[in-house]
């Protein structure tokens, strides 16, 4: 009997110790989103997260997973679609779709660790096989996510600068204004307190 934490839930499974996680997910627990492609850890169709790391579940025995948090494609976008899934839809990535859960999981793990990987790093992390040849669209989707991250940082930076400028201005006004007037001044904007 093995206790596994899968998508935030504890599940106990009665299987042999050398059973690969892939088959526990698919056959024992009915989580069929994770796919079998090669059984030798090469094609990446079976990619899940183990403690956040992209892991090829077809060569990971259940006995190695005690106390670890496992996330599958079913858990990734359980509450709302994950940004990687949205990017996949925006670029219309899937064709036959069989390898895509593994691709999405590998990408999500990569970007969580490194939000702006180089193309070389993308190539290494996304070594998964797609027989339909969706690679150009996958690359576009990942570039889109990287751009979004850059924009997010830019926006945050600009907001911080605006707030700094505003604070400076207010400080200057306070120093110019008579004491009584400063007490009636409007409270600083909510954003400025962050």
């Amino acid at each position: 009997m093995f206790e596994l934490r899968i998508n935030g839930e504890m599940r106990s499974v009665d299987v042999e110790a050398d059973t690969p996680l892939l088959w526990v997910l698919r056959d024992t627990l009915g989580l069929t989103g994770t796919k079998y492609g090669c059984g030798v850890g090469d094609c990446g169709s079976c990619t899940v997260h183990v403690d956040g790391q992209a892991t090829r579940s077809c060569i990971t025995p259940v006995s190695a997973l005690a106390g670890k948090a496992i996330t599958t494609i079913e858990g990734l976008g359980a509450r709302e679609p994950h940004p990687v899934q949205l990017a996949w839809l925006a670029q219309q990535v899937p064709q036959c779709g069989y390898c895509q859960p593994g691709m999405v999981m590998a990408t999500a793990a990569l970007l969580a660790e490194k939000p702006r990987p180089s193309d070389e790093e993308i190539g290494i992390a996304l070594s998964n096989i797609c027989r339909c040849g969706t690679y150009p669209r996958i690359l576009r989707a990942v570039h889109g996510l990287i751009d979004a991250d850059l924009r997010r940082e830019q926006t945050q930076k600009e907001a911080a600068e605006r707030e700094a400028a505003l604070a400076q201005e207010e400080a200057a006004q306070r120093s110019r204004a008579p004491r009584g007037a400063a007490q009636n001044a409007p409270a600083p904007k909510k954003g400025a307190q962050r």
């Binding site: 059984g39 219309q92 036959c96 339909c132 669209r137």
Partner: protein, 782 residues
């Protein structure tokens, strides 16, 4: 002239070894199943398509659904359910077909979903059968037209549901639009009746019927039950192309959301109550058989339920696939390796080499007088090319779930032909076809592999041993790779003569290899299997070479091998395009001309091909200097009624590795029903073809396939994938196929680019450059 006479007009060179005369029916089935792409007489087509609008009872699954014809039903909540008779394997056909119907129905696209069509002749693929006939696609003579008509009639008669030969859109274009238009008119008439106004005062708009003058409206869902009672209109009116609001737009794929969140259901994902799992080992040698096994050794292993012998294979059934797989690995099995235990790749190529020189040949196209012209030529050029066996290697390995109960059989399978699945299941179960229910799931790749039914027959045989229990058979990747129906290995020989100005005078091309159609028929419909008429797939792409050669001869020497071979994305085009488009480059070199301009000069009367070629050359910047060590290659190929040209830019790395930097592609497939899906299919076909050109090779030793999994049968990966640009050219030509035509030219574009980069002409695939020279170990002994 009868159809058979027409076929006999395809000359057989060696009457001594000539064909036994087949029955008319044999020929039609054999020729028709071959796949490919032809146009069917338009008037006949339209007439028949109206007959395809009848209502099919099996299409309606509950009393909340109202079928307006065989192709569309409407639910009171306004959802539109479209019957799709073609299987989704990534090519986007579910989305494309739904688009056709939704367009004419004026449906709200966000309310449209698809459902697998039931097994009924009405949904049969009529076009595919006409496609395999041994007449050229451009041939509009009486003979060819008659043959196509006959092929169409047979297609109608058989009503085979199948997806292949890039035919789906061409098959469904008329019936699905007519079905949408017919349903729209029924809804409109129903609303008019309810309002008691003339139908002419009503209009339809995205899921509603409107009464224009009063502003009243009904949702389609409110009208469905009444509309379903009306007789269909005699002549539904189709929209004009200028009024399309869905066709021609890059609509998002209907299957995409489920494919990114893991809920998409492939065959491997089927789960049924009390289901058991089967793992399978087949005799490693083709044609071998199971001799014995020692069940006692594994009977006590956890979860094992049964061991089932299957003639050439043995299956272990357990309560999980992993347990079945593990037990199978521990099962002692003895094989009778049979007659092919000594077969290897070298022997096969040696046999081809003999047969191409001395075997009987079939002429596929003969024009002018090749040999006198060759004798007149100022120079002749000769070359011999070859390609290896290839596996399909779909990402989802072969699988099928079967349940036999009370004399009935139910199967769930990712497949390219529910009709053939039904046939195979019935045969295996020993029951009539009408006792077999087929459920087609999404396909984790097809590429021609899933038009086969070997895995279905096996699953049913296993389930037969465990009546009442559903059994899911799943092949391991190793079984999948070593028991494919391979793209055949083929060799091709050319001789061409040029005049003093470098203009071609004569073109001779002889191909040697086995017949895919024959191999397929031997497996699928053995009663109809034969070598006559000649298999069009052998010469697909070689016989219809588009260039102006005043004297031309294209022949095929049939060279049979025991290797099971099958339809592999673009079939004969996959090798003939590599052969012909490389040899055309060799002629350009001999003529001291630029490869692009040389092709142009030979396409005078082919404006459609010229436009595609010019588009790709312009977009690729043909003639612009490239970096040192880089080269550019061009190739043009028409297949499945579409025209595709590609330019590849490559460099040779210091390691001897070929790096593909960029591929520019132009396609004319007529109207692009969904331009984004056409682009995706070009990207897909290019990468599929690059994998084959750079890595793909299945070899045999001792009758066994030597490769077993991806590490030994390598695939192109993201890091090696080039930038791809696709340009759509619409010449106004009739609809062409999209799933396959992008694959044929890429190997030639690549080899031609490699020649430009390195000066080395590689004439066999995969493209392997000699390793960078190492210091010679010893002096030669000669």
């Amino acid at each position: 002239m009868s159809a058979l006479d027409a076929v006999s007009a395809v000359k057989k060179k060696d009457p001594a070894r000539g064909p036994k005369r087949p029955s008319r029916r044999q020929f039609l089935v054999a020729g028709g199943l071959a796949g490919g792409g032809l146009f069917v007489g338009y008037i006949a087509y339209l007439l028949r398509d109206r007959d395809r609008l009848a209502r099919v009872p099996a299409f309606v699954r509950n009393d909340k659904e109202f079928a307006l014809n065989a192709w569309v039903k409407i639910v009171p909540d306004g959802s539109v359910v479209v019957a799709v008779p073609h299987q989704e394997m990534g090519q986007g056909i579910h989305t494309g077909l739904a688009t056709l119907l939704a367009e004419e129905l004026d449906a709200d696209w966000s309310r449209v979903r698809v459902e697998e069509a039931p097994l009924d002749k009405i949904y049969g693929n009529y076009v595919m059968l006409g496609d395999g006939l041994p007449v050229g696609p451009e041939d509009s003579g009486i003979l060819a037209t008659t043959l196509r008509w006959v092929g169409f009639k047979v297609g109608e008669g058989l009503g085979l549901l199948a997806t292949g030969g890039s035919t789906s859109m061409r098959n469904a274009w008329e019936p699905m639009r007519l079905a949408g238009a017919s349903a729209r008119e029924l809804l409109l008439a129903t609303a008019a009746k309810k309002w008691r106004v003339p139908a002419a005062e009503c209009a339809t708009q995205t899921g509603f019927v409107l009464h224009v003058a009063s502003g009243r409206r009904f949702g389609y869902g409110e009208l469905a039950s009444e509309a379903a009672q009306l007789p269909p209109p005699a002549a539904p009116r189709l929209k004009e192309a200028k009024d399309y609001r869905l066709i021609g737009k890059p609509l998002p794929r209907l299957d995409a959301p489920a494919k990114v969140n893991g809920t998409a259901q492939f065959g491997i994902d089927v789960r049924l109550p009390d289901m058991l799992y089967a793992a399978l080992a087949q005799c490693p040698v083709f044609g071998g058989a199971l001799k014995s096994y020692d069940e006692a050794k594994i009977r006590a292993l956890p979860g094992v339920k049964a061991v089932v012998p299957l003639g050439n294979a043995v299956a272990v059934v357990a309560d999980s696939w992993w347990r079945a797989h593990q037990a199978l690995a521990n099962l002692p099995v003895v094989w009778d390796e049979g007659a092919n235990a000594g077969l290897d790749s070298k022997a096969i190529f040696a046999q081809y080499g003999r047969d191409i020189e001395s075997g009987a040949t079939t002429e596929y196209r003969a024009e002018g007088e090749v040999w006198p012209a060759m004798a007149r030529a100022a120079q002749t050029v000769e070359a011999r090319y070859s390609v290896p066996l290839l596996a399909h290697a779909t990402m989802e390995p072969m699988n099928c779930t079967a349940l036999l109960k009370d004399g009935r059989c139910e199967v769930w399978a990712p497949n390219q032909s529910p009709s053939l699945v039904q046939l195979a299941a019935a045969r295996s179960a020993g029951i009539d076809s009408d006792k077999v229910v087929v459920h087609t799931t999404l396909l984790g790749g097809g590429f021609g592999r899933r038009v086969e039914t070997d895995f279905v027959a096996q699953a049913v045989s296993i389930a037969k041993a465990l009546p009442g229990k559903p059994v899911k058979l799943l092949w391991s990747r190793e079984e999948d790779m070593q028991h494919d129906m391979y793209r055949p290995a083929v060799i091709s020989k050319f001789r061409a003569g040029l005049d003093p100005a470098g203009r071609p005078l004569a073109w001779w091309n002889r191909i040697a290899g086995p017949s895919v159609t024959r191999s397929f028929m031997d497996r699928t419909l053995p009663a109809a299997a034969m070598d006559f008429p000649p298999d069009k797939a052998n010469a697909d792409g070689a016989a219809e070479i588009p260039y102006a050669f005043p004297n031309l001869l294209v022949e095929h020497a049939l060279s049979k091998t025991p290797v099971p071979i099958g339809f592999w994305r673009s079939v004969g085009h996959s090798y003939n395009a590599f052969f012909t488009e490389c040899f055309v480059d060799e002629l350009a070199l001999a003529a001291k001309q630029d490869p692009y301009q040389f092709r142009r000069s030979l396409l005078g009367a082919k404006p459609r091909l010229l436009k595609v070629l010019d588009t790709v050359a312009t977009k690729a910047g043909w003639g612009r200097p490239l970096g040192i060590g880089m080269g550019r290659g061009i190739a043009l190929h028409a297949s499945f009624r579409s025209v595709v040209a590609q330019v590849a830019e490559v460099s040779l790395e210091a390691t001897g590795e070929v790096k593909v930097h960029r591929v520019v592609c132009a396609i004319d497939c007529g109207l692009a029903v969904n331009p984004d899906i056409v682009v995706a299919q070009m990207e897909s076909a290019i990468i599929f073809g690059l994998t084959a050109a750079l890595f793909g090779e299945i070899t045999l030793s001792k009758g066994r396939v030597e490769q077993s999994n991806f590490p030994s049968y390598e695939m192109l990966r993201l890091a090696q994938s080039p930038a791809i640009e696709v340009h759509l050219v619409d010449s106004g030509a009739p609809l062409g196929g999209v799933g396959e035509p992008g694959t044929p030219p890429i190997a030639a574009a690549l080899a031609n680019a490699l020649f430009a980069a390195s000066g080395k002409r590689l004439r066999s695939l995969p493209l392997r450059l000699p390793k960078p020279a190492a210091a010679p170990a010893a002096a030669p002994t000669s």
